[in-house]
Point group: C2
Chain length 336, copies 2
């Protein structure tokens, strides 16, 4: 059997046993956006790690050092956001091929430091080593959260409203522009590229949601909306119904889709790397939550569906027809 | 300018600026064996990360999965040991090439879990992704230590005795056997291979030393004795004098050196990857420290030299002649 056959999530299930030798104090281990564990203080510690690999996650020729540094930290900060936490310290391990210039590397760290500073995160250490082939960056972020405010994937309940904190699909369109070597010749296309290269971790949004009553579950959209709703549904043992017309897509994505003959809905559902947050919140809290979110962030919290008692994810299509949708988001190995 | 010209340590100096956006609470950032920072509890948090890259740190054909899993965690536990800490949680990011078998990967995790369990460490999370070429493993370990017991590199004082907690040079001899494809046909050669593949992190030794009066500085021997004493000396702004005859080398290393015409002293000084601890301790505490260490661990704590007021590292040769020694240990980029 190969990793390709069982996929990333199959592998995680397979090696998950025997990982806890001291389970007391572990609030979340493998399987959520970040691990959460008790320390000798009042707050939980959160730790997440994400690795970006050349020719798998990015093409060096198409990715500036500054963008790559930004993104490699941003994807980790987004995991802390999805747990409702405050990001505090970052650690950067990097494997550097001989043909990488020092200036690229300095740009990479400049991009990382700028994002770190914007979120009051320290870069406290790491490891710098050679690589015989590809550039590899592995960032680990430590954060904190009060146990009562921890957001996890497994708390969604039937009837909950599913919200997302921003538009979906832009990043996948940006990736398409890169892979097809389309020049980003308009502000709209440049915005799509930026969504792919420089995602904004929704840390403030995560903190806002973590402190609110009735928020039951959260995840960040990294694999793709359908997959990530699927993770919440599977871990909460519920189903979900998304409403196509309510899924927020940007004007630039709509322009792009008209120009290149693509479906914005498909990009929003299956694209991935959006790094907005998805949350499931009690219906009775939903109105206040959306109103207060909009007041705090000056943009809407988008209600895009509901949690159902069944299993599986359904989509209400624009015409009203309901169809099941597969978790078509990203699995590194199954897609390879 | 390239990374090769300025080296790993030159690069770390170059990118070290601007890493702290919230310096309060940071006890140690970049430049020690692990970062140390305050949390809302009584204990300091320690975090370290080390990346192992195929064709740079190991050859897959010569390294079993179980050994590789063991080592990738061990090198991180050793960093926690060098800070005097208790290792608690581990996070594993891994980039997997398509031609790696699932069974190799399962062995890798089995090796890691066995070592984790031996030290009551949890594996709490990570990231599993594809690699287009090499197998890359990046492990991050979180640990704790009371601030009063923290061991750092920068506290050595002239007159301190330099101790090490075990034999040096075996790992480098094991690497030689691998690179030269020499079959390990005797128990002695197998012991050298094991020293390279399955180093033992000196966590208990680190905890013992951290709790003792007069221990001023510590580091683990990863780059090589001369380099690692050099790190203590540079960061403490002192010099060091090592006594060749006092540097502990194993019987199997002596056998090996006779057979292959090598110098055990050279391997001990410049080999690296030994993962014993080096400490500098006040002369007046040295006697009790060595006696109590031997009582606790049933093997000697080796006094191998003294900290001097000068700069640079000197070696007292077997004949009594004193010569300066360069920091000939490992720098990934300068050696490349």
């Amino acid at each position: 059997m190969s990793l390709k056959e069982i996929g990333e999530f199959g592998f995680i299930r397979r090696i998950g046993g025997g990982c806890l030798s001291r389970p007391q104090g572990v609030v979340r281990g493998i399987g959520d956006d970040a691990a959460a564990f008790r320390t000798d203080g009042r707050l939980l510690a959160l730790v997440t790690t994400d690795m970006l690999v050349e020719r798998v996650h990015f093409l060096r020729a198409a990715t500036g050092g500054r963008d790559l540094g930004h993104k490699s930290l941003a994807v980790n900060l987004s995991d802390i956001a999805a747990m409702g936490g405050t990001a505090r310290e970052a650690f950067v391990a990097i494997a550097v091929p001989d043909d990488l210039s020092l200036s690229y590397l300095e740009e990479l760290f400049a991009g990382m430091k700028a994002l770190a500073q914007a979120h009051e995160v320290n870069i406290l250490g790491g490891d710098t080593t050679r690589s015989a082939a590809d550039l590899v960056i592995s960032v680990t972020v430590y954060g904190t959260v009060a146990e009562a405010e921890l957001l996890t994937r497994d708390g969604a309940r039937p009837g909950d409203v599913i919200f997302c904190t921003g538009c979906l699909g832009d990043s996948r369109a940006g990736l398409h522009l890169i892979l097809e070597e389309v020049g980003a010749d308009t502000p709209a296309l440049r915005a799509l590229l930026a969504a792919h290269h420089r995602p904004s971790p929704h840390l403030a949004e995560g903190r806002f949601l973590a402190g609110r009553p009735g928020v039951h579950a959260a995840i960040d959209v990294s694999d793709g909306l359908s997959s990530d709703v699927g993770h919440i549904a599977a871990q909460s043992r519920v189903g979900a119904r998304l409403v196509a017309d309510d899924i927020p897509v940007s004007e630039q994505l709509q322009d792009y889709c008209r120009r290149f003959g693509r479906s914005a809905l498909e990009y929003a559902l299956a694209g991935g790397e959006d790094y907005t947050l998805l949350v499931a919140a009690a219906a009775e809290a939903a109105g206040d939550l959306a109103r207060d979110f909009e007041k705090a962030f000056e943009r809407p919290l988008h209600a895009i569906g509901v949690i159902t008692a069944g299993a599986g994810i359904e989509l209400v299509e624009p015409g009203g027809r309901i169809r099941p949708i597969p978790p078509t988001g990203w699995d590194h190995f199954k897609r390879s």
